[in-house]
Each structure stands twice: as structure tokens, then as C-alpha cells.
Symmetry: C2
Subunit: 417 residues, 2 copies
């Protein structure tokens, strides 16, 4: 396998993961209250019609529509009121309505059998135990009919849906208290590099660099409720240590993400370390993405090892554009997209053709519209783009760049101030 | 206080909450790893410059820029290479560079004192312990200078920020392992109504209705990491039970949300129940919002009791348009907005002037653009709009409606299929 020489495209990288990686997540029933953000592992269909009986949608009198045919102001129809049906009456116990009778109903009351329309209070004249109807009513006037809202068998939640408030409420509306979901994807993030230091006290380092990338990866994935992300402290550039820690991690996690140790230098050992583990399937080593080019992936014992750069923005680009789309495809996840705005470029954006580029940008209000300014990506500016940026512009490999004044799509990752 | 007669505007409702309700949340230091979605309770400023020392951004030779002035291809400057500085050398221990000497450096190496530029390997000729420089270098060429990325005192995270992956990574980059956050807002949701049944087995009810609204409210708020939401099972329409449960809840929660029991009917007791509790401050009773009009709010002992409709979409409208904006203002929360798209109306939307309307809609792709279709809001269609809709269109009170073909803003609450 080529070492960063023949870079594959982002699409090809995704294709290789999706065509080989199987996530065999266990399924479990959880209380709907605890299902927010988890992925439904089943199609849930409506177990019965809603409404499950014909009901009135107004306060008035239930009657037989055909009894009113021919009614007019000069020739009203007279119906005998034979009773009243409350909202809380069992629909099975509602009596049969005979010709030329009516029953008082409230909004939500089950309709007496035999009746097929409801006339509103204000449209009739009441005389002792009778009402006078001055106009004909069409069949099913002011009635919510059985199954009008949902038919038995209609899909309420489809398999792969990330459960949101609306799904949970819909399930509850039917009386469901539990839903079958996938267990969360267990991921461990392992920062690699002898120079990488765990944050403790905010003091300038005399040597090395604080680990920020493993925190970025953990929190980025944790936004999704269907991940369960752990993080290890940095491990040194030592082939046997890297090998034994990844090997151990593969026993208890569905997926391993390493950061650091991915470019081709003497101290970059991650790929070499895992290559010798049993049941190794290389997927790719290097992708035409900027930043993030040295990203690699392999399956070890069928589990995904995703190796990203130690630089935070580079790691982010590869997670956002390669790993997340792959996992969603592997699991068939249906989910709302991240917020996107269109904004006017105030500085040129130049792409290296052949690469998918991931530009950190700052979106701000300018007059009545939104403007967007690219932030530099290289060298020491990495930290400030994390803080000062609030969006990302993605340029596909076949585009040379965008001129000043172009309206571009910006994926928002922070508020517009 | 008027009973739904004089409705106030959504803006006025928010103003009344924000001007009276104080959320005195405790603050606590948490590990940055556990701070995702919480609200920063402090301004965090850069405790030192980054870079904290001048460093090379290329592989090459550190030198004194002025030694190269006058250099040219025909008249190169000769510098003596007196050593090498590795990336991991303590910047304090890097030696002083004397005139007409150079030191080999790598990307990231601290610059020797006295040097102020770096020339790249490929731009020099090496002859034993000397290099030949053929061009003058400007001062600070290929150098990342102290504080270039961040100056000591620059704001990294401001108070009120909802902490996202970028903030967490930025804090880690400085060596911070903890951050001061507000403790989560403790909310309890209490469904009220003798007809309201807790979901258990999905069977049609012979009387009453399954509680879905309390599940909707709990999950809607739980999307935000800064809420800690509990839910009670439905309580009956009994003045003394309602009073005692709300009174008890106020002891342990920052906020109480009731659903059901808000419209003005004989069985709607929530407002009456809490009116007699001590230290009662009415805020409003009824807001010009559709659906959701009977929404009420009051302070009891300084804590907010927010009373919403038992109908899920009505509850949602008032939470989304009144409660959430109020809480964000009360706490000064800075947060990314929900995703919004522009889509073309395929059916007319009619507003009742004077009301803020909250229309459930379905957004779908039509040709190369997005179209949006309103879903009916009334009667039995409530459940199906929860499932079939993926967005919301909000019409302000001064707008009569939108015609077919108008492009409207849609707040997305589900994926576009």
C-alpha cells in the first residue's frame, strides 16, 4: 500500500470503509424517556388507527346527516335529543342513534353508532328535548374519522432514525413506553506522541505540546447521542506500547481513533504498530484532503482503526468529512444536517485542485447579509482559528477556489455574533 | 390579572420573565472532558502568549537577517553552522547566536536568541560547517513570533458560552484541565389532567389520552446540555394534589413546567392551585401565540412556574418561542442557532394578525430547490404533524400570511428526505 504517494479521494475513502466495516451493535429496549439521540433499531408502525373511533371535533349534537337533507330556514328538521355523550365515555358503550334523534356531544366525544355528522350548538335552536336544524349537513361534518390521522400499519419511526423529541412524543401518543435501539458505539480516542502532554495547569511548556486533539475528537463525537466515547492519556512513540494499547482497546471498543503519529516521519509509528496485529485489512493510507492528508484507516479483527493527524483542525476535517459520513452509511442513520448558511466571501479562497479542502472561517453580519472571512490554516494559527472561527467552508476537489463576492455555503459550528 | 382576555405579545411575555426571574445557579469546576454543552461561568483569558517563544515554521537554518543583507547569487554570504536545535529543546537553554553564524533548526524548534529569521534547507548550499546564503532575508522570515497566535489576556472562552468541541480543545491547548461552569438547570415537567394516561402498552384507550407532552418537553429541553430535566407521571385535576406536588417540586428544582390544565375551563386548575402558594408573582396568563395561547407563567418564591398546554405542538411552540429565549437571556447564553433553510411555499399560510403563529411544515426537495408544505394544526392532525413534519415556520404578529411561491425561513427539526 502506497505511503501517501497515491492519495485517494474522500469519496473513495468513505466507500472503502462502508464496503468492509460492519458495526454489529447490540440492540436493547430502552424507556422512551432515555432514548433521545439514540438510533432506532426497528421500524415502529402504528398498532391501531388514530382516532381509534369516530369523534366529534366541536361541541354540538351528533345526528344522521341524511335526516337533515332538505332542511332550510323556512322548513327546519326537528330531532329529538335522547341523551348526552361525555368525552370520557367508553366508545364501546355509546348507544345506537335512531332516525330523527340527536345526542349532545362535546369536543372529543365518541360518536354514537348510526350518527355520521355533528352540528354545532350555535347552528341549532333548542326547544326542551328537541333541536331545530335549519340546514342540511354533509356526511362526516365536524367528525374526526377512524384512522384519519394515522392508519394502523403506518410508519411512526423507521429503523436508523436518530430519535428526537418528536419521535419520542409520537411513540408516547400511541402508548409505547419502550423502543428498540442500538447500543451506543463504543469508541476510544488514543493520542500518540512522546511530545504530547496531558493538560493539567495552564503554563507554557518548555518542550512538547498539550494534547488538545483527543479532547476535540471526544467532544465532537459526543455531540451525537449514539456514541460512547472514552479517551486515553497520551502514549509515547514506542512501537510495542502503541501495539499493546491498541490491541487491548480493540477487545472492549467497537472502534479505535488514534491522533498523532500519522505522517511519514521516523517517529510516526501508529500504522506500523498495528500492521503486525493479526487479521489486519488495510483500507487506505493518505487521502486527498486538506488539512488531514495523512489520515489512514484499517480493520483489525473486523474493527475500525481510524488514524488521524495530531493537529486539531486536520483531525476535525477527517472526522467530519470521512468518518462521520461512513458511520452514518454503515448504520443507515437518518438525521438532521448541521446548520448551513450562505455568506459572501470577503477574501479569496484558493483550493489545490484534486484535494477536498476544509477551510475554517468566520461568519459575521455585514449590513443586511452575512459575510465570511477565511482564517489561515497553517502554522501557528491553528489555535486561534479554533477560537475565532464559527464555521467551515468545504471546497470539492474539482473546484479551484472561490473569488471575493461569491456566496458560499458555510457549515456553522458556533454562533454568529 | 385578565383571564385570556387581554393577550400579551410573545416579546412582552419574554420581557416579563427576563425582568423578574433570576436563575441563581451554583458554579462548579468540571474537567474539560465533561464540560460539553454546559455554560461557562467565567471569562477564560489566555494565561500566556502563544507561541510562548519564537519558533521556526520550516526546516532550515536560523540566522540574523541583517547578516544576509547584500547577499546575491554572485556574492553569497557565508555563515558558520555552530550547532543544531531540536524541536524538543527547552527554549530557555537555546544558546545565543553570534554574528555570521547559523544554527540548524526543524519545524517547531525554538529560535536561538539573537536570530530573527530562518532560511529553508533548499535555499542554501552547505559546505562542511558552513552555509552559503544567496539572497537577503527579511526580518522574521519563516518565524512564528511570540504571541502571534494569541496574546496573554486574549479571551479564549467568554462567560455564557455553551461549551463546544472547539472551546474544549482551545482550553486544552493552553493546558487547562478544568473550567468553571454553571450547574445544570434543574427542571421538572408535571403533566396534569385526570384524563391523561401514562404510556405503557400500545393499545387504544377506551377513555382518556396518553401523555406525550411531558415526554416532548423533557426531550426538547434535554437536547441542551445545560438542562437537567425530570418528569413526573400524570397527576389528576385535583386542586390540593396539584398544589402540594408543585409546592414540593419548588423545593428541589429551579423551574417547574406543567402541561395541561391551562385553558379556562372548569377542570383547568393549575393556575388556581399555585395562586394560593406564598410569595406568588403573576407574570402573564395567555399570550398571542398560535397554538399555545393559554400559556401562563408566574414566580413562586422566586422560581419560575411555566404552564403550557397539554397539546404537544402547542406546548412546543411556547417552549421554543417564549421559554427558551427567556432562559438564554436570563443566563446570557451564547449558542449556535438551530438550522434554518429557505424553501418555497406550495400552499398558502394564513396568519391571524396579532398572533405569532407556529406552523408545522414538511420540507422536501422539488427539482433543484426546497419546497415547504404546511401541515394542518388543528383537531386530530396533531399526532401526524409530529411525525410527518420536519420543520417549523414562524409568522410574526404583523404579517397576514404568505402566498404560494413565497420563500420562507424554515427552522428544521428533522432531516429533509
Amino acid at each position: 500500500m502506497a505511503l501517501l504517494k497515491e492519495l485517494i479521494s474522500v469519496d473513495e475513502a468513505i466507500r472503502r470503509i462502508v464496503s468492509t466495516f460492519r458495526l454489529d451493535l447490540r440492540t436493547t429496549y430502552v424507556n422512551i424517556e432515555n432514548s433521545l439521540g439514540l438510533i432506532s433499531a426497528e421500524d415502529v408502525v402504528a398498532p391501531y388507527d388514530i382516532p381509534s373511533y369516530n369523534k366529534s371535533v366541536v361541541d354540538g349534537y351528533a345526528l344522521r346527516a341524511k335526516d337533515t337533507y332538505g332542511a332550510s330556514p323556512s322548513n327546519p328538521v326537528e330531532l329529538k335529543v335522547i341523551g348526552e355523550v361525555d368525552v370520557n365515555v367508553d366508545p364501546e358503550e355509546v348507544p345506537l342513534l335512531k332516525p330523527y334523534t340527536a345526542v349532545k356531544v362535546a369536543t372529543g366525544s365518541p360518536l354514537p353508532k348510526g350518527s355520521d355528522a355533528v352540528i354545532m350548538y350555535e347552528d341549532v335552536e333548542r326547544l326542551n328535548d328537541k333541536i331545530l336544524v335549519y340546514k342540511p349537513l354533509p356526511q362526516w361534518a365536524n367528525v374526526a374519522r377512524v384512522g384519519e390521522d394515522f392508519r394502523r400499519g403506518d410508519l411512526i419511526v423507521s429503523k436508523g432514525t436518530v430519535l428526537g423529541p418528536w419521535h419520542i412524543a409520537s411513540l408516547a401518543s400511541y402508548g409505547f413506553s419502550k423502543v428498540l435501539v442500538y447500543e451506543r458505539i463504543k469508541v476510544v480516542v488514543i493520542p500518540i506522541g512522546s511530545e504530547v502532554i496531558k493538560p493539567s495547569i495552564p503554563e507554557p511548556l518548555r518542550k512538547g505540546v498539550y494534547d488538545s486533539t483527543s479532547y476535540l475528537i471526544k467532544s465532537f463525537l459526543s455531540i451525537k447521542g449514539y456514541f460512547n466515547v472514552s479517551r486515553l492519556d497520551p502514549i509515547p512513540d514506542d512501537l510495542s506500547i502503541i501495539r499493546s494499547i491498541i490491541s487491548k482497546a480493540l477487545e472492549s471498543f467497537d472502534m479505535v481513533i488514534t491522533c498523532g503519529g500519522t505522517s511519514v516521519g521516523e517517529r510516526d509509528l501508529t500504522y506500523s504498530a498495528i500492521k503486525d496485529l493479526g487479521d489486519f485489512t488495510p483500507l487506505f493510507r493518505g487521502v486527498a484532503i486538506r488539512p488531514g492528508r495523512p489520515v489512514s484507516a484499517a480493520l483489525v479483527g473486523g474493527k475500525l482503526v481510524f488514524m488521524v493527524s495530531g493537529f486539531p483542525v486536520a483531525a476535525l476535517a477527517t472526522l467530519d468529512l470521512i468518518l462521520m459520513p461512513s458511520i452514518k452509511l454503515v448504520l443507515g442513520v437518518k438525521e438532521i444536517d448541521e446548520p448551513v448558511v450562505k455568506a459572501k466571501l470577503v477574501k479569496r479562497l484558493v483550493n489545490v485542485v484534486g484535494y477536498t479542502s476544509y477551510f475554517r472561517v468566520r461568519v459575521f453580519r455585514c449590513g443586511s447579509e452575512l459575510c465570511v472571512e477565511p482564517l489561515r490554516l497553517t502554522g501557528s494559527g491553528i489555535l486561534s482559528t479554533l477560537i475565532r472561527g464559527n464555521g467551515v467552508v468545504i471546497i470539492p476537489p474539482n473546484v479551484e477556489g472561490y473569488d471575493v463576492g461569491t456566496y458560499v455555503k458555510v457549515k456553522l459550528i458556533g454562533p454568529i455574533l
